[in-house]
Each structure stands twice: as C-alpha cells, then as structure tokens.
Symmetry: C2
Subunit: 325 residues, 2 copies
C-alpha cells in the first residue's frame, strides 16, 4: 500500500474499539498519529493492540516487511487533549455515543485545536448540526462514520452539518481517500445513515423468515454468504442490475419494477422478534461456529476481508475507460 | 475440486442462461450430463458456451489441467426429451417460467423419466405443489432454484411440494452438495423464496435513499461493495451478530433489538420508483462502469467470485470443533 495522505498529522481522540482501529488507518497510511484518551490505561492498551495487529498484518503479507515497525514510530501517545491536538490537521473523535458527551468533547476540541484543523466524529447516531450547535468552529466539523473495524473495512460515511463549509467536506472526502478508505457522501441526515439502514432492511426480512419458520438461521446465513454476499463484495445492487440487462441498470429496473413492487408488498414490516426467535438465531449460529468462537471468527473474517480487498486491488472492476474493451 | 456426485447421470432440460450453467455444474463435478432443448440451435450454442467457459476456467486455474477436455467428454447433446432422460437419476428442468409451460413439461418428464429419477425445477416463482399437481410422480418432484449463474454462485434453494417424499428432498440436498453447490432447505413456499426476498428488502431501501436524495447511486453501491458485502461474502447476518458480542448472536440481537425496531419503523415501505429514480440509478451506474460494459463487468465479477470462493476454501471459517482453538 503506497499512500500519500493529504493531511500529514492527525489526532485520534478516544481509543475504544473504533478509535484504536483508526490509529491503524492513519499510522499505516503515513500520518503522524497523536493519540489521546482520558482513560490512559485504555490508551496504552489500544496502542499495544495497534502495534500487535500491525505485526500480524506484516506476517500475513498485508504490510511490507518493516511496515509494522514504521507504523509504530508514527504513533505518539499523549497525556492530555491539548498535547494530542498540537499540529493536527485532522481530529478523529471516537468518544462515547451520548449526545451531551459528544457536545462537551466538541466544545473542548473546538477551543483547543488548530484553527485549520477539521474535527471529524465517528458517531453512528448524531447529526453534526446537533453536535456542533453553537460552536464558533461549527463550520469545520463533519461526521466521518466508519464501519467496524475501519482498518479492515474501508467505507466511511461522510455527513456535513448544516453549517459545515463545503470545502471542509471536500477536504474530508479527499483526505479519507488518501489514507486508503472509501468515503461516501451523504446529502442529509437519516437515522442509521446508509449502511445501518441497508443492513437493517435485510436483517428485518431475515428475522421474519426465521420467525415464520420458512428457513433456519443456517439456511439464511448460507443464502447471504454463498449467494448475495459473493456478488455484493464486488458490486452494489445498482451495479448488479447493470450486469443483468444488455441495456444496463435502467433497463433491468424498468423490466423488473413490477416484480420488485409485488415482492416489497409481501415483505414483513414488523416481524416477530421475541426471545423465542432470538434463541433460534442464537442456537443456529452457535451450531455453525461453536459457542466461544466470536474472537476466532472475527479474526478469520478480518483476514479474509483483506484477502478479498487484495483480489479487487489486483484485478479492478472495469471502468468507463476500460469497460468496453 | 474433487467431487463425488451421489447421482452419476443427469439430464439438463432447457438450455437458456440457467440451463447452460447447470451443464457446467454437473459435468465439472463428474456427472454424465445429457442435454436437451427443443430449440436445437440454442442447445448447440449452450454446449459451445459450456465448453468455452470451461477452457477459460482451466486457463485461470479454476479447473485442473485437462479439466476442460474431461468436462467436454461428459456432455451428451440429445435430439429428443426421451433420449436425454435415458439413465438419468436427476433431471434439472430450466424451461420458461410460465406455469402452464412448467406443468406441461412436468407431465412429459414424469411420463418419460426413469421411475427412480428426481425431477428438479430451476423455477424462481412457482411452488412444486402447483407445478406437479395431479402427476402420479408428484412425490419425486422438488424445486432446486439456483442463483445465476450456478456454476459460479453455489447457493441452491430447495423446496419440497406438499406431496414430495421426504427422502427425495434429502437426496436432493445430498446430491447438490456432492456436486459442489450450497443447497439450503426452505420449509414452505413464500414468493421470491429466500434470496430474492432478502435482496428485494435491501434494494427497496437503496431505491428509497436514491429517490429521497440522501445519497447517490455510486455512494450506495460503495457502501455495499466496500462495506456490507465484504462481510456478507464471508458470513450472513446471524454469523455477523455472533462476532459482535462476547455472548454471541443472542446477546447481540437482545442488546440491539430496540435499535433495530426503531430503524425498521423508519424504513420506507413504498419508495418512489419512478422513471426519474430509475434514470438516476441508470446514469449513476453508467458513470461507474461505462455504457457498454455489462458483459465485461459480468465476466470480471464471475472471475472474482471464484477468487473469493477459493479464499474461503483455502482458509475455511472456524467450526464448533475448531472455533474455540
């Protein structure tokens, strides 16, 4: 991975599961990465985690030889918020999700950060208009919501507040791309943003199919894992439509519009989601992976997600320039 | 791929896009594959297609050296239905989707096939209870609905009719697995079966997000391709829940149950799906891939789906036996 970050120094504020993974994103890309968490024990653990996962990546060939040591040198643990913000042109806030906490952190960030710094929040729930309300620097605040963990899964949802300056949003998109992520811009706030809404839509139907005993949890997971997901790892629903008709996605969706409407009318809006159904999900999943395997399965998944990303990097999708060739 | 089909001789009836891909599934797995289409020109083209894609697979390393030639020897073009059915223990019907046509074909199949043969239909729309209604051999008929194309994407939805014998369903599941597919059993008929329902649920929300201008087609496709799909190529929604809480999927879904319910209540059941929205989808998709790229993008996708399947075969998911290790 040879990246050229458009912002050389960043601050990672908050070092939970998301924050620690952001450390990897930035340090791996070449940024000087200043880290602060008011819980200094958690901060130390997060940096240890970042160093050890970098070493695993190097062993697996996802980092060049010596990459883990280079990454480590770019990480600077800090003893205070103001120390972490020194020289940082990008601040990635990953604190607790409670609105009042976010607002308090943003008051502190806006007061202490360099004037030119962009203040980005990992929030999955709040609108930046609300978080940065009343701040003199509200125009430099933007949501940059990652998928967990961002050092493995590249999508970042970018959402400006009402008073965010357009050049801040543009620089945010450019910076996230320059560190190897896939930023996607939202035009306005909706609960769940894009990814969690799309995920919830699929899960609702999956829960309905389990609850009404049409199929088992194992069957539904297999349909996703060995069916839909194999395509969706490569192209989204609109790209998929493009390959399904000679005239492209427009022809596809016009031809099957009525079929989709009929199916939509048949989907269950309020599936049973009781203890009985959740227990069926739980036991079906345990039968697939074993009861104590969450960490092992997570590691396996992260390793293979990297493998899929490498496949795509080595053999990229056709573009308008190459598509007709 | 070293497979041992539980049924040695099969008949592929109907050689459109789905039927021709079934030829590959069966011949590649080692079955003697007898082929018939009343349109003998289409039949010849389908067999040519099967041979040429096998050659491409061999060149890409997805088939052993000499694999394409061996596959070719197992394919027997037939001049009549009765000729195709000789000795076939599995019949894969992939005719037109109109119910009357399916019923007519099933009358002919039931009359002419060996008594021990299982009659499987690729239908994506009909219940076997309806297709085989009134046939003396209704108890040996079963739906085996693949994903397009089945020689690339392994999931097959298996659905018994009301009068299908349980041992027929069991043998169907075992046979499909023995030729390298991923059969999943449905317990009863619902429109769209599993895969198309889950897909429609996600697409509905995707269409809503486009229509209400929350994001562009490119943004939504990126969220799936570089976010949700990277996980879903490896594990379904329930397995994903398993990795998100120490106590497994049950704990995850109990903890986030209310969050899911709130999001479900906010999803749009009847999104605008007008020409305006479809045109937005179409132009967004064309900008990604180019106007005339459907075939090139489809080939690319099929190649990379194979690559993902090979990653998973080489490094399989933890199981109850290995998960805690």
């Amino acid at each position: 991975m040879s990246l050229q970050p458009t912002i050389p120094t960043v601050a990672v504020i908050g070092t939970g599961v998301i924050g620690r993974s952001w450390i990897r994103v930035f340090a791996r890309a070449g940024c000087h990465t200043r880290v602060f968490d008011p819980d200094q024990t958690q901060q130390s653990k997060a940096i240890e985690w970042a160093e050890s996962t970098a070493a695993v990546d190097e062993r697996l060939g996802f980092l060049a030889v010596g990459g883990a040591a280079t990454e480590k040198q770019r990480i600077a643990p800090c003893a205070s918020l103001s120390e972490a913000l020194v020289g940082a042109g990008w601040v990635q806030e990953s604190g607790p999700e409670a609105l009042e906490t976010k607002q308090r952190i943003y008051r502190e960030l806006d007061a202490a950060a360099d004037d030119a710094a962009i203040l980005a929040s990992s929030t999955s729930a709040h609108d930046m208009t609300t978080i940065a309300s009343g701040l003199s620097g509200a125009d430099r605040c933007v949501v940059a919501h990652p998928v967990n963990p961002p050092h493995v899964v590249p999508v970042v949802e970018v959402l400006a507040g009402r008073t965010t300056r357009p050049d801040v949003t543009e620089r945010a998109l450019a910076f996230l791309e320059s560190v190897g992520q896939t930023p996607v811009e939202m035009h306005r706030y909706v609960p769940g943003f894009l990814l969690n809404r799309l995920q919830a839509a699929l899960i609702r139907e999956a829960v309905s199919l389990i609850g009404s005993d049409v199929a088992s949890a194992a069957a539904i997971d297999a349909v996703v894992r060995d069916g839909l997901g194999l395509r969706w790892a490569l192209m989204g629903p609109f790209g998929t439509g493009h390959t399904n008709a000679d005239g492209g996605a427009g022809e596809y969706y016009r031809r099957y519009g009525d079929a989709y409407r009929a199916l939509w009318a048949d989907l269950d809006a309020t599936p049973e989601f009781s203890d009985r159904v959740i227990e069926r999900i739980h036991s079906g999943t345990e039968a697939m992976y074993g009861p104590d395997s969450a960490a092992a399965v997570g590691e396996w998944r992260d390793r293979l997600v990297r493998g899929i990303r490498r496949l795509k990097a080595d053999d990229p999708a056709p573009t308008p320039e190459t598509g007709g060739a």
